[in-house]
Symmetry: C2
Subunit: 339 residues, 2 copies
């Protein structure tokens, strides 16, 4: 019996754990570029630094947490394979990381998952098990596979190995651009946002961290306002990566480390996505657009209510672009010609 607590038994990964995660995964992932756009800066009235996880391996930040979790396994654990549930980017990331580790990945996907996401999982060698499109059905199917195969569960966000991995994106951004005034990231289950806050505060204690959430899936906003975890009542947002509920673990980290949650409308998500595609010439998915939308409002950065910079210069804002996986056959941009 060891006296050292297992990382899973503490609430949040500490800075040392995050630095170790970064050392573990750095050789296996891209150090994604930080991009800028003069025309979006002009709209926002700020200098924005975009951490482009849309250009990350498998097309999203999810590969950070998945790689950290799967490469943290002991050889005996790795030999058993891994299991997870996800309808999207985490599924592809676990399949990819498992193949690189040389182990098997069982991926539980809802039967209505987009076919492009299923294809990505298959292309990376993952074994898909379909379940009913209910959160409860996902967990039950995972539990059954765990029992039957002995596979190790790799939860999409309620897992400190995952959170520590996701924290490395903010760590890299702060390594590149030290003097940000605030950092914006989207929030869904809270893996990215809690990791972003921990990674940012490891580099810069006290840096303002702001979560961005669709009005149509607003459980993080309501939970922080109420001071206790609220259920996800609806998730009919175009931001298909942001339809999961917070977990107690991620909620607790957000309460401690996140300054506020800003809600954005579906129209703002689509307009922001379009602005980024048109002006920056990069493909981001709707979930990424959620994190820049507050800056593209009429009042721009002023809507965030930040104090002025000591140097009197425009604010410097970091934005995490979470991913770039979209189905090009069903984009939301055609409404203008159909009118």
């Amino acid at each position: 019996m060891s006296a050292t607590p297992h990382p899973e038994s503490t609430l949040a990964p500490d800075w040392k754990t995050i630095r170790e995660a970064h050392e573990r995964i750095a050789p296996l992932i891209h150090r994604t570029p930080v991009m800028t756009s003069q025309s979006l800066d002009a709209i926002a009235g700020a200098r924005i630094f975009f951490k482009c996880e849309n250009l990350q391996k498998t097309g999203s930040f999810k590969i950070r947490g998945a790689t950290n979790a799967i490469f943290s396994l002991t050889p005996a654990e790795a030999a058993r394979g891994v299991v997870t549930h996800s309808s999207g980017n985490h599924a592809a990331a676990v399949a990819y990381a498992a193949r690189r580790r040389g182990t098997h990945a069982w991926i539980v996907m809802p039967s209505n998952a987009p076919s492009v996401k299923m294809q990505a999982v298959k292309a990376y060698g993952g074994e898909i098990t379909f379940c009913e499109p209910l959160i409860s059905s996902r967990a039950e199917t995972c539990a059954r596979i765990e029992r039957e195969t002995g596979a190790v569960m790799v939860h999409p966000y309620d897992d400190n190995r995952i959170i520590a991995g996701q924290a490395t994106a903010a760590k890299e951004l702060l390594e590149d651009i030290a003097d940000l005034d605030a950092l914006l990231a989207p929030v869904s289950g809270g893996g990215l946002l809690s990791g972003t806050a921990l990674g940012a505060h490891g580099m810069r204690p006290g840096l303002r961290v702001i979560g961005c959430e669709p009005q149509h899936a607003d459980d993080a906003y309501r939970s922080l306002a109420a001071g206790q975890l609220q259920p996800l009542e609806k998730s009919d947002t175009i931001a298909d990566g942001l339809r999961a509920p917070l977990a107690p673990r991620t909620f607790a980290i957000l309460r401690q480390h996140v300054n506020k949650i800003v809600l954005v409308s579906e129209e703002e998500i689509i307009d922001s996505m379009r602005a980024v595609w048109e002006r920056m010439k990069i493909v981001i998915e709707p979930s990424s657009a959620v994190a820049v939308a507050p800056l593209l409002r009429v009042n721009g950065v002023a809507s965030l209510g930040l104090p002025p910079r000591p140097d009197g210069q425009p604010h410097k804002i970091g934005v995490i672009f979470s991913g770039g996986n979209v189905d090009l056959a069903s984009l939301p941009f055609s409404r203008q010609v159909r009118v």
Copy 2:
């Protein structure tokens, strides 16, 4: 009377002219990144290095030539303003460069030009004059504006200042990746392709330069095959940047410096554009896709018939992505769901 020939009187800009052009424009444009993609490399069976002029100011390489031409003007010439005709990227580039030089730009556009292109010209302060959608009408309208205003003509490609500017993209790519086996670029009027060949051969005499052209606008292919300039008989291609005819000047440079022209189908253009958006997460316009399409065929790089590399490694191929300006409201990707 000077004994020095004006650059316009010689057929092609020499290497010194190209280096001077690069010094002139480098502070005014982006040094665009060279991107790679493991999944496209796997399809092609080669290592591809993409020069991302879609991430260039104004969204295309055209700003290189336009900036070189407009910043080459004497103060007296610049005071007269500039005039050009273009339905697309050259129009926006001239408007942008003229504003930076502090001079006026008259832009002749066909009455059926896409509204997004007109908006870009207006946003950069250009003054649009509409003409009939005929090549002859464009030239006549430009000539009239020259007579009436004294403005200096900046032709989209039949101009050595323009060609020298476009040559700087290939020069930068070769500076970054020296040991390419071949360099691919799209061809329309031939400004980019002739510049690419001159820039490449300034850096690496003898480097294989291959032009890529839509089957539906194949005058360069037919002209090189026939050994004399052939008329553009049709231009009904989705690659809206590649609908212009070669000029005698660009044809002569291509004959001397380009190894061959490869034709690509409309379906190949759309599929290649889609592959780049999906795999690289960057927005390229159809004209850019034309230059990667030959590498994404079933035989990949083998279809180009290159000799093996001396080191036995996979071929290293440069591709110029010419631009990223697309109308997001009318993309060609929806055909799959509409079937």
